[in-house]
Symmetry: D2
Subunit: 314 residues, 4 copies
């Protein structure tokens, strides 16, 4: 059965027809307005109308950043889109005049599911996906099933606390893992180093055009790839926190594989080697168990489309 | 189908015939020697011979403290019994001369499963059990299934790290949750308070017969129930760590219920009220989700027998 | 001998004639521009011209927020005023055409010295002053002498690290004491609580006119004085960090007295009681030593003028 | 003026005649019993009788591990010797029948003073000495004077807290600097690594004869000097904590020099390089101030004798 997967971004949506092998047969996109929830309903209806022309569509899966209702019919709350207890499924069905199944899924869950079914984790039954982007998102698969939790808000991995009294988080708490293992954390640490270690930060500052406020994660990766010691230290610190936090998750869930997605993966071994070292050093019961591998995600930007489509079909 | 559940302790085993409602129809026990693994094989065979006299037995479940093989045929490693890659199932079957199913399960998993099927968590689908005893053990149920992990060592909740650079743990790491949320932690904190706050510790010292080295968890609970301010603070601190760590687990797993087992439960609300307050204060996405309740375990000392029997039957 | 003390603020200076008993005999002030260092030179010259009319002046002391040169002739760096290696003494002398001694002193040192000589600490020889304002400043007196350090930058108490991996600080480091023991920390914790514990934060939000971004320290104090549980918790947390950090300082310096200055003192025992409890609980060698008292500063807003004058005279 | 310095150890005392240049002109020693305080009184009297034969002695200084009375006439409490409010000065004077000045000083203070007057810190006015041995002791010099504090118990540097919720300390608190920056910490970390990282610990285990409980600090240093990666990591971690804690002290006291004494100094740059890097990275106001150098102590085992003698003379 073919399904459409829709990935909702801040200002546009991307959609594709996905077959049962996880292949995208056709793709399209539409612009949307994050403060006009109706524009997203209409865009979904439009991409459905466009894509159903060439394919028989059995289901629509929608991947969205936010808290998804436990019955997956809508979004309880989204940080960046005007969704508050929003009945996305029913709105879309009304617009398209069809009772095709419409299933809403958290975007990190959708991406994780794509990796689990068709990507880096397709050969395991228990997996942790970490999406290291602006924040730290994730997805958890246990016993071949996605872990959604009792109220649909599981896998908020970024809000596991790793430092009591640690960095403030936008969630109102302190020391959330996201504040140590995300692109934002990397940039802030780099900016802090410009203040605290100015003599080591000359290359970073140069890449930022002399203004630390303009520093980006790719600047740090670029400097590290050139051999800049501070940038290498910064990526190693990011990797260390990814690895140490993963060891805590592994104590709870014993996954076979940890998949790292998100933009910082571009740093490659500058990030992964410290992550693997820290994971191994922190893993409980080491020596009495195999160690989960830490690998990069394989599905790229299509993960949301593919995962949402497949979850809608399931 | 009736099954026998066997709970392996350090120096004795307890066994019972358990029906499908989780009721123990008959019970017996045997003494064993922890440094003679064969004595345990024989004791299991003996209790089987005794209990099968009155009941038709479809399976034997064995609950043991240690790392259980992924196929549940034996024990990879046990901290307190001379089991190293030990083929418990095959040994028992050879002794009893039968091919009745014999299933080995981690003891915390067995106890957690009993709570999930028949006890405090019988009405939910996603649960965290914490056994707060000498150490901190646990069991996790997700989507109505026990989480065993890729290699059978999931739910080592006590080794989730809660304080970087924190207390040394016997596992070789620092800051494990067990070092903050266990009876041992309570006793050590109480002993430390005798040194650091002698003026507040007079009642505790008196209960210990004047020797801080003899302080026990029940001493602290007793003093707290009498109204001793230091003892109340100590239990509140223990409860705080239970609640804060549970909030980290909830960020990952979103359980509907958190069940507290183990001896410290005797402290009741002196422990639970601080645990609930800390959990609520640390829970991510509070206000956008229901909050898991924190309740005491209901199955008592029979949990291991009942859970092992039921898991063997499953 | 009479001396003039000058307290440099962001947009104005206050000055007074101070006698050897620490009494201010006359006062005046001038507006200044923080981005025009010359305007401050001229304002100092003007207040000198005005105040010398009625009194014989033996010295001028200037209290300034910033790193003061070791010979106290000027300011190496100031965060809020356009001073960079600025020869304040020589500029002022040139303007007033006199070789009256002009001595520049860090503002927290000046305030601390006033408390030591005439205020809350006048009866002790070893003191720690903490100025809990927007940030956390301080002054240290050992053996009756102000501790300036080898390069004049001692007593940067706010940058002692209290939490590895803790809150980012403007200094580029993490976990500085200032991030836990200042008015800014109080406000940020209160704002975080509005997000994380909305049900407890209704009174605070009301006092802020419904906008958490407008919350102030005095709002928290007001709510706490009314009995609001969250506000009481927030002040207690602030007090706890003041006390615990002070215990670390006491391990190093064994002061006889800890004096708390700055605006948060208005919270009185809501702040001081938790500070004293935490200090006592964390103090090393408790029981083998007396405990330093923790008291409020006594000199009020005049401390800078009085202390600067007296240090110039010394 | 010549003075005798006496260094009290656990089971013996060492004494010497010290001239005003800090040179030891003659030395002797006696065995003592730590549980018989009188044996120490008598031994001091004996060494005085012996050493005064060849020299005119103006004062006796006694260096002792413990809390020294503020008037330096005796010891309030000693952890390893049977001194409780012990009038050492008066006892010694009674035995020798003389009113020669007898001054008791804390042993770390005496050693620090020797470094300040004649050793590694003889050219500075503000110094921090860290004695990294079984524990972490220290001495502080500010404005050319030893910092004793209001009640004589300053410079308990080992009990500055560096990790909230960190390792238990014998003092009854958690997270004391001593638990991260001492030979004991090094050994415990090494033993923990044997458990947590057995594959990396083969060389360490070999040096300990196969029994981790026998591991010593010198074993770690030896392995590190051979190039063993784990041992190098362990010393680097020790150095990191020395450096980071020193940065906190520097925020308070701005010393010109940090002197490292005690046995771990044998590790040389394997320890000092990480200490210096960590100090520089954590130092507040870096770039606006010179950085204190971190150097090894120069006075060796004679520091206690020389420092006690000189302090008695002062």
């Amino acid at each position: 059965m073919h399904a459409i997967g829709v990935d909702i971004g801040g200002t546009k949506i991307a959609a594709g027809v996905v077959d049962e092998d996880g292949t995208i047969l056709a793709k399209t996109r539409r612009d949307t307005q994050p403060d006009d929830a109706g524009s997203i309903d209409r865009a979904i209806a439009e991409v459905y109308a466009e894509l159903r022309e060439g394919y028989e569509i059995g289901a629509i899966g929608v991947a969205a950043a936010g808290f998804v209702a436990a019955d997956r019919s809508g979004v309880l709350f989204a940080p960046n889109i005007a969704w508050r207890d929003y009945p996305l499924r029913d709105n879309v069905r009304a617009l398209i005049g069809s009772d095709v199944p419409v299933v809403v899924e958290n975007d990190a869950n959708a991406a994780g599911w794509a990796e689990f079914r068709y990507g880096a984790a397709k050969d395991v039954e228990d997996m942790l996906l970490l999406t290291v982007g602006t924040g730290l998102g994730g997805a958890i698969v246990v016993n071949n099933r996605l872990v959604r939790g009792a109220w649909g808000v599981a896998a908020e991995v970024g809000h596991m606390r790793v430092v009591p009294g640690g960095h403030y988080c936008g969630c109102g708490h302190e020391g959330c893992w996201e504040q140590y293992s995300s692109g934002s954390a990397l940039v802030r640490d780099a900016q802090a180093a410009v203040v605290a270690q100015p003599d080591r930060a000359t290359r970073l500052l140069e890449l930022a055009g002399g203004d630390a406020a303009r520093l980006t994660g790719p600047d740090v990766t670029k400097a590290a790839q050139e051999g800049d010691p501070l940038a290498i230290d910064l990526l190693a610190e990011l990797g260390r926190w990814i690895g140490e936090g993963s060891a805590s998750v592994a104590a709870l869930l014993d996954p076979a594989l940890i998949v790292i997605g998100g933009g910082v993966g571009a740093a490659g071994d500058l990030l992964l080697a410290p992550a693997r070292k820290a994971f191994a050093e922190q893993l409980s019961a080491r020596g009495h168990r195999p160690e989960a591998a830490i690998v990069l995600a394989a599905m790229g930007n299509d993960a949301g489309i593919v995962g949402a489509a497949d979850l809608a079909r399931a």
